[in-house]
C-alpha cells in the first residue's frame, strides 16, 4: 500500500475555514468551521511521522499526536479518538483553545523547516467532536465502586480532569465550586467565540451522569472549612485557579470605567448563557459604542479585545509594553484580533488614565523600547523619554495577569503553606500540600498558566491521589 502519510511535500497546509472577520464579529460563536471529513484526513496525512515527535515533547499532556494523526489520515476516526482521549480529559477543549502555535504546532518539524505546520489542533477538535456526534464518548462507569471519597475544590480544567480520572477508578468524587456553573474559566473566562459553552457543559454532564457530585455556589471558608472537607473526605484536591487581578498602578486607575478583565469576561459570558447581569445591563461592563483600551498582551487581553469588538465597541485598542514578537499571548489570537479590527499599540505602557473618578475618558501612554536582555534572555522594556500620547477610552480593561487569592486565609487553613507569590506549595512529585491528604494543582500552584497545564495537573493528581488512597487503605485496595 502506498505511503499514506508524509504528504506535506505535496499538500499545502490548510486550516478549517475561518469565518470572515465581518461575519464573525457580530456574534459569539466559534470562528472556525468544522473540518469536513476529507479535509481532516488530508491535513492529518501531512504529518511526517517523525522519529522524534517534537509535537508530543512540547505538549504538556504528551499527547500521542503522530499516532492519532495517522489514524485520522487512514480514516480510523474512532481509534484516533480513543488514542486522543487516552492522554487528555478534555481533548475537544484543547483542540479549540490551546495555543498550538506555541506548543505542538509551533514545534512541528515540518513547521520548523518551513512547510507549514500540521494543523494538529483542528484535527484534535475534529476527531473529538466526531466522537461526541457518533456516540463514541462512553459514559463514565467505574468498574467497581470504592468507598473512599475525594473533594475537589474548583471545577475548572484541573478539577474536571481529576474528577474524570478518580471517578473512573471508582472513588466517590464531590466537586465544590463557588460559582453557579461548573467549568471555571472554561465556562466564564473564555469567550464563546473560542469555546462554545455547550462543549463544556456536555463534559460536566458526563461527569455528573457518571456519579460525580457537584456542589455549586459553595464557597470553601464560608460554607465549610477546609478541615470540614478533610474530615468528610479521604482526600482533598485544591484547584481553585488564580483570580486576583493584577492592579494597574497608574494615576486614575480607580476611575469608573476601569474594570478587571475577568469581571468583564464573566459578565459577557453570563449574558451569553442567558443570565441577566446587572453590570452588563447598566453598561458598566458593556463595550457597546465605547472606545475601549485593553491593557496587557496575554491571552486574556486578546479575549477582552475580541469580546469588545463583538459587543459593538466604537474602537478597540490593545496596549502592550513589549513588541509583537515578545508578547506572551498566542500569535494566532493576535492575528484574529487584528483581522477583527483591533488596533495594537506595541511598545506602549499606560502612564495615567484621563478623565475623573466618575468616568475615564482616555489613556495617556508612553512609548517603550526594549533594553538589554536579562538573565532569562528576555529584553526588559524601558521608557522612551518624552513620548507621551493620548487615546480616547470610555472603557479601560485591565488584563495584566492574575495572582492567587489568599487561600489559607479564605479557607481558614493557616497551616496550608504558600509560596512568596501566594501560590500553594505542593510537593513536585506527590502533589501533596503541607497538609496530609490535601493536594493541589493547576494555576493555584503554578500561577496563571494554560488550560492544558491545568488538565495535566488534574491527570497527575489522579495518580498521586490514587497512590495516596491505596496506601491509606491497603486492605481495601487489595480486596478490590
Amino acid at each position: 500500500m502506498a505511503e499514506r502519510m508524509l504528504k506535506f511535500v505535496t499538500v499545502e497546509r490548510s486550516t478549517p475555514e475561518k469565518r470572515a472577520a465581518d461575519a464573525r464579529t457580530g456574534d459569539f460563536h466559534e470562528i472556525y468551521a468544522d473540518f469536513i471529513d476529507a479535509k481532516a484526513k488530508e491535513q492529518a496525512a501531512r504529518c511526517s511521522q517523525c522519529g522524534i515527535p517534537f509535537c508530543q515533547t512540547h505538549c504538556p499532556l504528551h499527547n500521542n499526536i503522530p499516532d492519532w494523526l495517522k489514524m485520522t489520515a487512514e480514516g480510523r476516526l474512532q481509534e484516533a479518538y480513543e488514542l486522543s482521549q487516552a492522554t487528555s480529559a478534555l481533548p475537544e477543549v484543547c483542540g479549540r483553545i490551546c495555543p498550538q502555535d506555541r506548543l505542538c504546532e509551533g514545534s512541528c518539524t515540518i513547521e520548523q523547516s518551513g512547510h507549514g505546520t500540521v494543523t494538529i489542533g483542528s484535527v484534535e477538535r475534529y476527531i473529538n467532536d466526531k466522537a461526541w456526534e457518533e456516540g463514541w464518548v462512553k459514559p463514565l462507569r467505574p468498574l467497581s465502586e470504592k468507598a473512599q471519597s475525594v473533594a475537589i475544590v474548583g471545577s475548572g480544567p484541573a478539577g474536571l480532569a481529576a474528577a474524570d480520572g478518580l471517578r473512573a477508578r471508582g472513588y466517590q468524587v464531590t466537586i465544590y465550586d463557588r460559582h453557579d456553573r461548573a467549568g471555571g474559566l472554561l465556562i466564564y473566562g473564555i469567550p464563546g467565540f473560542k469555546l462554545e459553552k455547550d462543549v463544556v457543559e456536555r463534559r460536566v454532564k458526563r461527569l455528573a451522569d457518571g456519579g460525580v457530585e457537584f456542589k455549586l455556589g459553595f464557597e470553601v471558608g464560608k460554607d465549610a472549612s477546609l478541615d470540614d472537607l478533610r474530615a468528610k473526605h479521604d482526600a482533598v484536591f485544591i484547584c481553585t485557579g488564580v483570580y486576583k487581578a493584577r492592579e494597574l498602578t497608574a494615576p486614575g486607575a480607580g476611575s469608573k470605567g476601569v474594570v478587571k478583565a475577568l469581571d468583564y469576561l464573566i459578565a459577557s459570558n453570563r449574558t451569553g448563557l442567558g443570565d441577566t447581569v446587572p453590570e452588563f445591563e447598566s453598561g458598566e461592563l458593556n463595550a457597546a459604542g465605547k472606545d475601549v483600551v485593553v491593557i496587557g498582551g496575554g491571552d486574556t487581553a486578546m479575549d477582552c479585545v475580541r469580546t469588545a469588538v463583538r459587543q459593538g465597541a466604537n474602537s478597540v485598542t490593545c496596549l502592550y509594553r513589549r513588541d509583537k514578537a515578545n508578547m506572551p499571548g498566542s500569535m494566532r489570537e493576535v492575528s484574529n484580533a487584528e483581522e477583527e479590527g483591533v488596533t495594537f499599540e506595541w511598545l506602549a505602557a499606560p502612564r495615567s488614565l484621563l478623565g475623573d473618578a466618575e468616568g475615564v475618558t482616555g489613556v495617556r501612554a508612553l512609548r517603550m523600547r526594549l533594553g538589554s536582555p536579562d538573565a532569562s534572555g528576555r529584553q526588559a522594556p524601558e521608557e522612551v523619554p518624552h513620548s507621551d500620547f493620548d487615546m480616547p477610552a470610555q472603557l479601560v480593561i485591565k488584563a495584566l495577569g492574575f495572582d492567587p487569592e489568599d487561600i489559607p486565609g479564605a479557607f481558614g487553613a493557616a497551616e496550608l503553606k504558600v509560596s512568596r507569590w501566594g501560590t500553594i506549595r505542593a510537593d513536585f512529585r506527590t502533589m501533596m500540600t503541607s497538609l496530609d491528604g490535601v493536594f493541589a494543582g493547576g494555576d493555584i500552584v503554578r500561577g496563571a498558566s494554560l488550560v492544558v497545564w491545568a488538565i495535566r495537573d488534574g491527570r497527575d493528581a489522579v495518580e498521586a491521589i490514587t497512590a495516596y488512597l491505596e496506601a491509606k487503605a491497603p486492605a481495601l485496595a487489595a480486596a478490590e
Binding site: 511521522q49 522519529g51 517534537f54 500521542n64 499516532d67 488514542l83 468498574l143
Partner: protein, 1512 residues
C-alpha cells in the same frame, strides 16, 4: 630467550582474555589456497609430488606471515603413502617386510615434556597392538628447524612416524577403517590422560600428511623426505593456510585426514549440534562395539574445516565413498534450480536433503578417501577451483591456474568446476568422472526416485483451508498486552507485512537502550543479536540468488543418516517453517493427535512470597520433562504452546521453552526423533521467528500475530485484501525475512540454520544462556530467570489486572513519551543545534550534561573514570586542533545525503584537518578542485563498497585513504538498493548508471569471499593508489577480534569497528534493531586480540556508532580506539531533527533527500559542523585534564582507567562489563599504531613496468613492453595506471598508448582499475578478478596456440570485470563465476561464463559466445548482453526477474554485436569467433539479446526495428 618470554606473555595474555570473557579461541577463522595433483591411472608418480610442492610454493600470497617473516599460518601436503620409501625404511631397521601394505602414522608428540612424549608412544603402541597390528618401529621424521620462525619453533612438536604391518589378510577399506578406529581410541586415551601437544596427522596405509607452521615455500626444506625421489604418489593434496590468529598451532595446519578446505563453514554451529544427535544412532549402527570410540564425531577445539573433515571421515569410514559424502555434505542447489533437470539427480538431492543438513558456506574442497579423489565446490561456487588436464593423464586442480608451472604445451584442457559440483577420480579403476558423470553414477546406485515416494509434501495436505478465529476483540487486546505488543508493533511492523508482504523499512540508527538496560518490558528476542558474515565469508543475496536458498523443512523422526533405504525418506516436507493457524490445525489432524504431544508452556502465577525465578524454573523443568517423555513415548511431533495463558496462567518466554527443550533433547540424544512446533503469542516479526528457529524450533505458528491480522481485516483496515492474501502476504514477508537473516550470515538452507544458535546474546545471564542455548556467546551476562519472571508477571498484571486495557502506543522504533528511551531527544537536539548555530560552548555543555542525565542506554554509560593520577592543567593538554584530526564523519553517500549536506561535511572536515568519508556512490569530478574561496569539497576518504559505484582509478587516487566497507552497522550482512526515484541525473552520472533506474548494492563484495580475498583487494588498492592508507570497516560482533587480526595480517592500515547503532538511509527495521553489537564490545575485543597477537601497533583502530559527546570519545579511546566517527550528531549540527524518514525522500530539512524543493530547506554550514567537532574536542580536553593526561594517545587502550559504576537494573542477575575491561599486556609494543605512513605490500610486476615505461610516464611516448608471468604476479597494470591517471588523467592518453604483452599464467586482478592508454595482451590464462574496476584500459587474453578448442576451455577466473566502469576485455575462452558483476560501463567478449553472469550489471555491453552458468542476469538493471546459444539451453539458466530476452530484431543492435564479435576475433585471433563471423547468417539466429526491463523504454535504439515488426 626473547622468544620464550614472548611466548610466555602470549600464553598469559591469552589466558587472561579467555578468563575475562574477552576472547574465545573458537572464533578464530582460517582460509587459504588449496589444490591437488592426481594421476588418473592411480599409479604413483614422482612428478605428482613435485608439482604439488611447486604449486604450494606459488600460493604463498594466499597465506599470511607472522612478523618474524618465517612463521607461517600453516601449510601441508597429503600424499599417497610411498610404499617403496617406507619399505626401505623398514628394511633399514632390520625388519623383514610382512605381507600387505605398510601403514604409516604421522604423529605430533609433545616435544619438551619427555615423560608425556613417552606416555603417548606407549598409548599408541598399546592400541595398535590391540587392533592386531605389528609395529615395524618409530621413525623420527627428519626436519630442518632452521627455516621455521621463532614462534613456530617454540610450539613445534616432536614429529615421528610409526610404521605398521596390518593383521594378516586385512587390506583396503577394512584396513583403513581399523586404522581409523584405532586412531580414535588413541586420541581418546591421550585426551583422558590430559596430555597436550599430541596429534595424529594421519594414520593410514594410503594417505600420509606432512604439515606445519612454516611458509609454504619451505615445505620441502623443512621436510627433506618430500625431496626423496622415492616419494611418489598417485595423488597429492596441498594447502596453504591463512589464519586470523598468529599463534602457531601445528595441528591446525591442513590438509586434515581426508580433506583440504578453502573457505568457511557458516553453519558450523548448527551442523555440530545436529551431528551430536545423528552420531548416536549412526555410531551404533556403523561401528558396533566401537560406537563409543568414534564419539564425539566432531573433535572439540578444531576449526570449521577440521569439523568438516571429522564428519567427512566418519561418513567414509561408515561405508560411504568420498563422492557420496561430498554430495551429502555439500549438495548442489537443486530445489529451485532449472539446471538440475535430470529427475534422478533431483531424487538423489532430495534424498540427501531428507538425510542431512548441508554444510553450507564458501568451499573449495580437495579430498581423498584413499580410493576416490574428489574436488568440488559449495552450492554458491564461492571459491575458485581451476582444473588442468595434461596430455599424460595428470589432473591439476586448485585455487589458482598456473600454480604448477606445467608447460602450456602439455595441457589439453582447462576448466572451472561449477557451483555445487565436483570432479571425481577412482584411483582403483583409474577412471575420471566428469561433473555430470559422477552424479549419474551416484544417482544410479539406489532407487532414489522410488524411495522418494515415501516423502510427504505436507503443503499439499494441509493448505489452503479454513483459518479459525480464536478470540473476541477484548480478549485479543488483553492477549496482545500480555505478549508485550504495542500499537507500534501492529501499525509499523505487522501492517506492512500483511498488506504488502514486506518488512517495514526504517532509517537512521538504533538509539533505544539495549534490552538489558531498558526499564521497559522487552521480549526475550531483543536480547539476541543476529550473526552476520564479514570478511571471512560472504553473505548471500536472498533476492537475486534465491535459487540457492531453501526453507524446506523436514518433519518427524529424522532417522539414521546412514540408512541407505526408503525408511530414510519417511518424512514430511514443508516448503517453509512458517505456519498459519489453520495449517497448524491441519498438521495436527493429519499427523494424528496420537502422534502429537502438545505441551502447555504456561505456568501458574508465582506466589508473592516465592523467590523470583523459582516458578519459571519449575515450569521449564516440567516442559523439558514432558518433552523428553513424549519423545520416549514415540511422539514424533511436539508442540510447545503458550496459548493457555490467561487471567490465571502466565506464559513462559517461548524462546526459553524452545531452547530448553531443544538443548535438552539434543543432550539426551532424542532431538532427531522429534519435530518441534512452537506456538508463540509474542512472535510477530521475522527476528522472533529467526530466534525461535535458531534455538531449535522446527516450525513456528505465530497465532496471535495472525489473530491480530484477522482483527485488522475485520475492522476494514486492510483494504480489499482477502484473508488468504493477507495471510499469504504475512507468510511471504516472514519467509523473505528469514531468508534475509540466513543469508546475511551466508547460510542458504534453513535446516543448517535450525538450532545453530547463530546469535550472540547481549545481556542474558551467562548461566542461563549456557543452559538453554549452549554455545551461544553471552559476554556480559545480564537478565536471568528471576528477571524474566518478574517482567512476565508485570505484563500479565497489566493485561489481565485492569478493568479496561488499551494497547500501549509503543515507542521502540520512534520515540514516544510513554515508550522506550531514546538517546537523542527533542530538547537535546535543539540545545545542540543552538550550540552549533551560535558557537556557544555553554549550550553544548548543557547538551552534554543532558545526555548524561538520560540514564543508561548503551554499555558505556555504566562505566566511569578511575583516575590513577592527579589532574593536569587544562592548558597543558594537546590542542583542539590535534584532537579534531582524529575525527571522521562516517560513510554517508551522496545519494543518501543531499549534495549540499554531503559537500558541507566534506568542506568542514577538510578545513579542520579531519576526514570525511565519501560513502558509496562516487564523487563528482568537480569536487577534485578546491572552490574559489579555497574550500576543499573533496572527501578525504573514499569508500569502496560492494556496489563499486563510481569506483574508478581517478576516484581511488583522489584521496588520502580508502575505506573498504565490509559491513554497515545498521544492516551488517545486507546489501541495499537505491530505488529508481532517488537516482537523479547527478546520482546516475556519478554512479555510471541511468537516471530513474534502480541500483543494487550486493550484500557481499564479490571479490571478498574469504580473508585472503580481502588481502588481495587491499593489495590491489595499494597498487592503484601508492600512498593511500587502506581502512577496513567492520561491524561489532563477538569474534571480531579474530577477524580484526586477520585483517591486520592482510596489511590493512586502519580497522574501523562500527557499532550496531550506526545509521542508514534505509534498512529493514529488524536489521536496524537486531543485527550487530555495541561498539564497546567489538572495539575492546578487537583491541585486545590485536594486542594479544602482537598486531596492534601495525594498525590504527577507529570506532563509530552513536558517539555524541566528548565522554563517548574518551571511553572509546580507553577501549582502544584512536580515531572516532561521528555521524548522526554531525547531521544534527547541519539541521537534522531525526524525522527518520530518510528512506522516504521527504526529509523536511533537506539533509537527506534528493528532492530539489526540500533541498532548498537545507540550513547547514561548515561552521556549524566545525563547532560541533570543536566542542567535542574541547570536552575531550577537559576530561583528559581532569584525569591527568595531556594527550588522547596516552589513554588509548587504558581500560584500567575505566570502572563499572552500575550493574544495571535490580531485576538483573548480573551485568558484568569485565570482558570489556580486561587488558592484555602489549609487552614492548605500543597499544596503538606506530606505523608511519602505511603498511607496505610487496611490489608486483608493475614496479618493473613503471621503470621500463619511463619514456611514457615522463614524456608521453608510445611504448610496447613484453614480459613472461606467473600466477604470483598480481594486479598487473594497477600501479602503472595510477601513474597514468595522476599524470594524464582518466582519458589523457589514447587507447593502446602503452601496450604490455604478457605470456604465461597471470596472477589475480590482472588489469585491476587499469585506465585508458594501457593495453594488456596476455597469451596464456589468468586468474580471478581480471579487469576488476576496469577504468578504460583494453585487456586481451588469448590462449596458448597449443590448446585446441579454446572456446571450451577456461581462460580467466571468477569475478572478472567486477565494478568495471569503462574499457574493454576480450578473452578467447571461458570465464568463471560472476562475470561482469556490477559492470557499469565496460565492453567485453568472452566465450563462455560460469554462474551468475552479468549480475547487478548497470551498464556496458557483454557478449558471450558460449555457455553460461545458472542465474544469468540476476538484478541486471542496465547495459546489454548477447549470448550465443546454439544448444538452446540459455533460457534454463536465465534469471528473468529483471531482464527480457529476444532474438536479434534490430539492425542497430545486430550491428553492435557483429562489431564486437569482429573486434574480438581481431584482437584475440579467436578461431571460433572467426567461424561465427564467416557463418553469420546461419548463427545469428542462435543469439539472444538480453535487455533489462527498466531500460527498454530508455534505449536510444529500440530493440525491435519498426519494419521488422511490421513484416513479422
Amino acid at each position: 630467550m626473547a622468544d620464550d618470554a614472548q611466548m610466555q606473555r602470549y600464553f598469559e595474555n591469552r589466558e587472561r582474555l579467555i578468563e575475562g570473557g574477552a576472547y574465545d579461541p573458537a572464533s578464530e577463522r582460517d582460509a587459504c589456497g588449496v589444490g591437488l595433483v592426481c594421476a588418473i591411472d592411480g599409479q604413483p608418480r614422482r612428478e605428482v609430488v613435485e608439482l604439488a610442492i611447486k604449486a604450494l610454493k606459488a600460493l604463498w600470497h594466499r597465506g599470511a606471515v607472522d612478523a618474524d617473516g618465517k612463521t607461517g599460518d600453516g601449510a601441508g601436503i597429503l600424499v599417497s603413502v610411498p610404499q617403496d620409501f617406507f619399505a626401505d625404511q623398514v628394511r633399514r631397521t632390520g625388519h623383514t617386510l610382512r605381507k600387505g601394505p605398510i601403514a604409516v602414522g604421522q604423529i605430533f608428540l609433545p616435544r619438551v615434556d619427555l615423560g608425556a612424549q613417552e606416555l603417548c608412544r606407549t598409548i599408541v603402541e598399546s592400541e595398535v597392538l590391540r587392533f592386531g597390528f605389528y609395529i615395524y618401529g618409530w621413525r623420527q621424521v627428519p626436519v630442518d628447524t632452521s627455516i621455521v620462525g621463532e614462534k613456530a619453533n617454540a610450539t613445534r612438536p616432536e614429529i615421528e612416524q610409526i610404521m605398521l604391518a596390518p593383521p594378516a589378510g586385512m587390506d583396503g577399506e577394512a584396513l583403513e577403517r581399523s586404522l581409523f578406529l584405532c586412531r580414535k581410541r588413541i586420541e581418546k586415551r591421550v585426551h583422558s590422560a590430559n596430555i597436550n601437544g599430541f596429534y595424529i596427522c594421519s594414520l593410514s596405509a594410503k594417505s600420509l600428511i606432512y604439515k606445519g607452521m612454516f611458509l609454504a615455500e619451505h615445505i620441502d626444506e623443512f621436510y627433506p623426505d618430500l625431496r626423496d625421489e622415492r616419494f611418489s604418489a598417485a595423488v597429492a593434496i596441498f594447502h596453504q593456510r591463512y589464519s586470523t590468529n598468529t599463534f602457531p598451532e601445528w595441528r591446525l595446519a591442513q590438509p586434515f585426514r581426508m580433506i583440504a578446505h578453502n573457505g568457511e563453514i557458516n553453519t558450523l554451529k548448527g551442523n555440530s549440534n545436529w551431528m551430536k544427535s545423528h552420531e548416536i544412532r549412526m555410531a551404533a549402527q556403523a561401528f558396533g562395539d566401537f560406537g563409543e570410540d568414534v564419539k564425539p564425531v566432531i573433535q572439540p577445539g578444531g576449526s570449521d574445516s577440521a569439523a568438516l573433515d571429522n564428519t567427512f571421515e566418519v561418513l567414509v569410514r561408515a561405508g560411504r565413498d568420498a563422492p557420496m559424502v561430498k554430495t551429502l555434505l555439500m549438495p548442489e542447489a537443486w530445489a529451485h534450480s532449472d539446471a538440475v533437470t535430470n529427475p534422478q539427480h533431483q531424487a538423489l538431492y532430495a534424498y540427501c536433503n531428507a538425510v542431512m543438513e548441508p554444510w553450507d558456506g564458501p568451499a573449495a574442497i580437495c579430498a581423498t578417501d584413499g580410493r576416490w579423489v574428489v574436488a568440488g565446490k559449495d552450492r554458491n561456487g564461492l571459491r575458485p577451483l581451476r582444473v588442468s588436464y595434461t596430455d599424460d593423464g595428470l589432473i591439476i586442480m586448485g585455487s589458482e591456474a598456473g600454480m604448477t608451472g606445467v608447460a602450456e604445451a602439455r595441457i589439453t584442457r582447462k576448466k572451472h568446476i561449477s557451483p555445487g559440483r565436483m570432479l571425481a577420480i577412482d584411483l582403483a579403476e583409474g577412471k575420471l568422472y566428469e561433473e555430470g558423470e559422477i552424479i549419474d553414477l551416484l544417482s544410479e546406485r539406489h532407487p532414489y526416485t522410488r524411495w522418494l515416494g515415501n516423502m510427504v509434501a505436507l503443503d499439499e495436505e494441509i493448505g489452503p483451508g479454513s483459518e479459525p478465529r480464536m478470540y473476541s476483540r477484548e480478549e485479543l487486546v488483553r492477549r496482545q498486552v500480555a505478549a508485550g505488543l504495542t500499537l507500534e508493533d501492529l501499525e509499523l511492523v505487522l501492517a506492512p507485512m500483511i498488506e504488502e508482504g514486506k518488512e517495514a523499512v526504517g532509517s537512521m540508527g538504533d538509539d533505544a537502550p539495549l534490552a538489558v538496560l531498558s526499564e521497559k518490558y522487552r521480549p526475550l528476542s531483543h536480547f539476541f543479536r543476529q550473526n552476520f558474515s564479514q570478511v571471512t565469508n560472504p553473505p548471500i543475496d536472498p533476492l537475486r540468488e534465491t535459487r540457492v536458498m531453501s526453507l524446506k523443512t523436514r518433519f518427524k523422526n529424522l532417522g539414521n543418516i546412514l540408512a541407505q533405504d526408503e525408511t530414510q525418506t519417511d518424512v514430511y516436507v514443508l516448503e517453509s517453517p512458517v505456519l498459519t493457524n489453520g495449517m497448524y490445525k491441519r498438521i495436527v489432524e493429519y499427523i494424528g493427535p496420537k502422534n502429537v504431544a502438545v505441551i502447555d508452556c504456561t505456568m501458574p502465577l508465582p506466589a508473592p512470597e516465592a523467590r523470583h525465578g523459582d516458578a519459571l524454573r519449575a515450569a521449564l523443568e516440567r516442559i523439558r520433562a514432558e518433552a523428553e517423555d513424549a519423545a520416549l513415548r514415540g511422539c514424533a511431533t511436539i508442540v510447545l504452546s503458550d496459548e493457555g495463558a490467561g487471567p490465571n496462567r502466565l506464559a513462559a518466554p517461548m524462546i526459553l521453552a524452545t531452547g530448553g527443550v531443544h538443548a535438552h533433547l539434543v543432550q539426551k540424544g532424542l532431538r532427531s526423533y522429534v519435530s518441534l512446533i512452537v506456538r508463540s503469542a509474542e512472535c510477530l516479526d521475522t527476528h522472533y521467528y529467526a530466534v525461535l528457529i535458531g534455538v531449535g524450533a522446527t516450525a513456528v505458528n505465530a497465532y496471535l500475530a495472525q489473530e491480530s491480522a484477522q482483527d485488522r481485516m475485520e475492522r476494514s483496515l486492510t483494504g480489499e485484501l482477502a484473508l488468504r492474501e493477507l495471510l499469504l502476504n504475512h507468510k511471504g514477508a516472514i519467509e523473505a525475512g528469514l531468508l534475509k537473516i540466513l543469508s546475511k550470515m551466508g547460510i542458504s538452507v534453513i535446516s543448517s540454520y535450525r538450532g545453530g544458535y547463530n546469535f550472540e546474546a547481549v545481556g542474558l545471564s551467562r548461566a542461563m544462556a549456557q543452559e538453554f542455548f549452549p554455545g551461544m556467546p553471552s559476554r556480559i551476562s545480564g537478565i536471568g530467570l528471576a528477571g524474566l519472571e518478574q517482567k512476565a508477571v508485570e505484563m500479565h498484571r497489566k493485561a489481565w489486572g485492569e478493568a479496561a486495557v488499551a494497547l500501549p502506543v509503543g515507542g521502540f522504533y520512534k520515540a514516544r513519551r510513554t515508550g522506550e528511551a531514546h538517546a537523542f531527544e527533542a530538547r537535546l537536539i535543539h540545545t545542540l543545534q543552538h550550540a552549533c548555530d551560535t558557537g556557544s560552548y555553554d549550550s553544548y555543555k548543557r547538551y552534554s550534561e543532558g545526555m548524561k542525565g538520560l540514564g543508561p542506554i548503551q554499555l558505556r554509560e555504566l562505566l566511569d573514570w578511575r583516575p590513577d593520577r592527579a589532574a593536569a592543567p587544562l592548558d597543558e593538554v594537546e590542542s583542539i586542533n590535534e584532537i579534531r584530526k582524529r575525527f571522521v564523519t562516517p560513510g554517508m553517500s551522496l545519494g543518501a545525503l543531499g549534495p549540499e549536506a554531503h559537500g558541507t561535511l566534506n568542506i568542514a572536515m577538510n578545513r579542520i584537518g579531519a576526514k570525511s568519508v565519501s560513502g558509496e556512490g562516487g564523487e563528482d569530478r568537480a569536487r577534485y578542485k578546491p572552490l574559489p574561496n579555497g574550500d576543499n569539497p573533496n572527501s578525504a576518504i573514499k569508500q569502496v563498497a560492494s556496489g563499486r559505484f563510481g569506483v574508478t582509478a581517478e576516484y581511488l587516487n583522489k584521496c588520502v585513504e580508502l575505506e573498504i566497507k565490509v559491513a554497515q552497522g545498521a544492516k551488517p550482512g545486507e546489501g541495499g538498493q537505491l530505488p529508481g526515484f532517488k537516482v537523479t541525473e547527478m546520482i546516475a552520472r556519478l554512479r555510471h548508471a541511468t537516471p530513474g533506474v534502480m541500483l543494487i548494492s550486493p550484500p557481499p563484495h564479490h571479490d571478498i569471499y574469504s580473508i585472503e580475498d580481502l588481502a588481495q583487494l587491499i593489495y590491489d588498492l595499494k597498487q592503484i593508489n601508492p600512498d593511500a592508507k587502506v581502512t577496513v570497516k567492520l561491524v561489532s560482533m563477538t569474534g571480531i577480534g579474530a577477524i580484526a587480526a586477520g585483517v591486520a595480517k592482510a596489511k590493512a592500515d586502519n580497522i574501523l569497528i562500527s557499532g550496531h547503532q550506526g545509521g542508514t538511509g534505509a534498512s529493514p527495521q529488524t536489521s536496524i534493531k537486531y543485527a550487530g553489537a555495541p561498539w564497546e564490545l567489538g572495539l575492546s575485543e578487537a583491541h585486545q586480540v590485536l594486542v594479544l597477537n602482537g598486531l596492534r601497533h601495525f594498525v590504527r583502530l577507529r570506532a563509530d556508532g552513536g558517539m555524541r559527546t566528548g565522554r563517548d570519545i574518551v571511553v572509546a579511546a580507553m577501549l582502544g580506539a584512536e580515531e572516532f566517527g561521528i555521524g548522526t550528531a554531525s547531521l544534527i549540527a547541519m539541521g537534522c531533527i531525526m524525522v527518520r524518514q530518510c528512506h522516504s525522500n521527504t526529509c523536511p530539512v533537506g539533509v537527506c533527500t534528493q528532492d530539489e524543493s526540500l533541498r532548498k530547506k537545507f540550513t547547514g554550514s561548515p561552521e556549524k559542523v566545525i563547532n560541533l567537532f570543536s566542542f567535542i574536542a574541547e570536552e575531550v580536553r577537559e576530561i583528559l585534564a581532569s584525569l591527568g593526561f595531556r594527550s588522547l594517545q596516552e589513554v588509548v587502550g587504558r581500560t584500567d582507567l575505566l570502572q563499572q559504576v552500575s550493574r544495571g537494573g535490580e531485576h538483573l542477575d548480573d551485568l558484568d562489563l569485565n570482558p570489556l575491561l580486561v587488558m592484555a599486556d602489549p609487552g614492548p609494543n605500543k597499544p596503538y599504531c606506530t606505523v608511519e605512513g602505511r603498511n607496505p605490500v610487496p611490489d608486483t610486476l608493475d614496479a618493473q613496468i613503471v621503470r621500463d615505461a619511463a619514456a611514457l610516464l615522463e614524456r608521453g611516448e608510445k611504448m610496447q613492453l613484453t614480459y613472461t608471468v606467473r600466477n604470483t604476479a598480481r594486479a598487473i597494470g594497477a600501479r602503472v595506471s595510477s601513474h597514468i591517471v595522476r599524470k594524464f588523467g582518466m582519458d589523457g592518453l589514447p587507447p593502446g598508448h602503452l601496450t604490455v604483452q604478457l605470456k604465461g599464467s597471470a596472477g589475480q586482478s590482472l588489469g585491476a582499475f587499469a585506465v585508458q592508454g594501457l593495453r594488456i595482451e596476455l597469451t596464456g590464462e589468468s586468474n580471478d578478478y581480471v579487469g576488476k574496476g576496469l577504468s578504460g584500459a583494453t585487456l586481451v587474453v588469448k590462449p596458448s596456440p597449443t590448446l585446441s578448442f579454446p572456446e571450451h576451455n577456461a581462460i580467466i577466473g571468477n569475478t572478472c570485470l567486477y565494478g568495471a566502469t569503462s574499457g574493454k576485455l576480450f578473452a578467447a575462452g571461458g570465464a568463471g563465476e560472476r562475470f561482469a558483476v556490477r559492470n557499469s560501463g565496460a565492453i567485453a567478449v568472452v566465450e563462455g561464463v560460469g554462474a551468475n553472469g552479468c549480475e547487478y550489471m548497470t551498464g556496458g555491453q557483454v557478449v558471450i559466445l558460449g555457455e553460461v552458468g545458472e542465474n544469468f542476469g540476476a538484478g541486471m538493471t542496465g547495459g546489454m548482453a548477447f549470448v550465443y546459444d546454439p544448444n538452446e539451453r540459455f533460457e534454463l539458466y536465465l534469471n528473468d526477474d529483471s531482464v527480457v530476452i529476444q532474438r536479434l530484431a534490430s539492425a542497430h543492435w545486430e550491428g553492435v554485436l557483429h562489431g564486437l564479435v569482429s573486434e574480438h576475433a581481431e584482437e584475440t585471433q579467436s578461431r571460433f569467433a572467426k567461424e561465427l563471423l564467416r557463418d553469420w547468417d546461419r548463427v545469428r539466429g542462435h543469439f539472444w539479446q538480453v535487455c533489462p526491463k527498466e531500460m527498454i523504454k530508455r534505449l536510444a535504439h529500440p530493440l525491435v526495428d519498426q519494419e521488422v515488426k511490421e513484416t513479422a
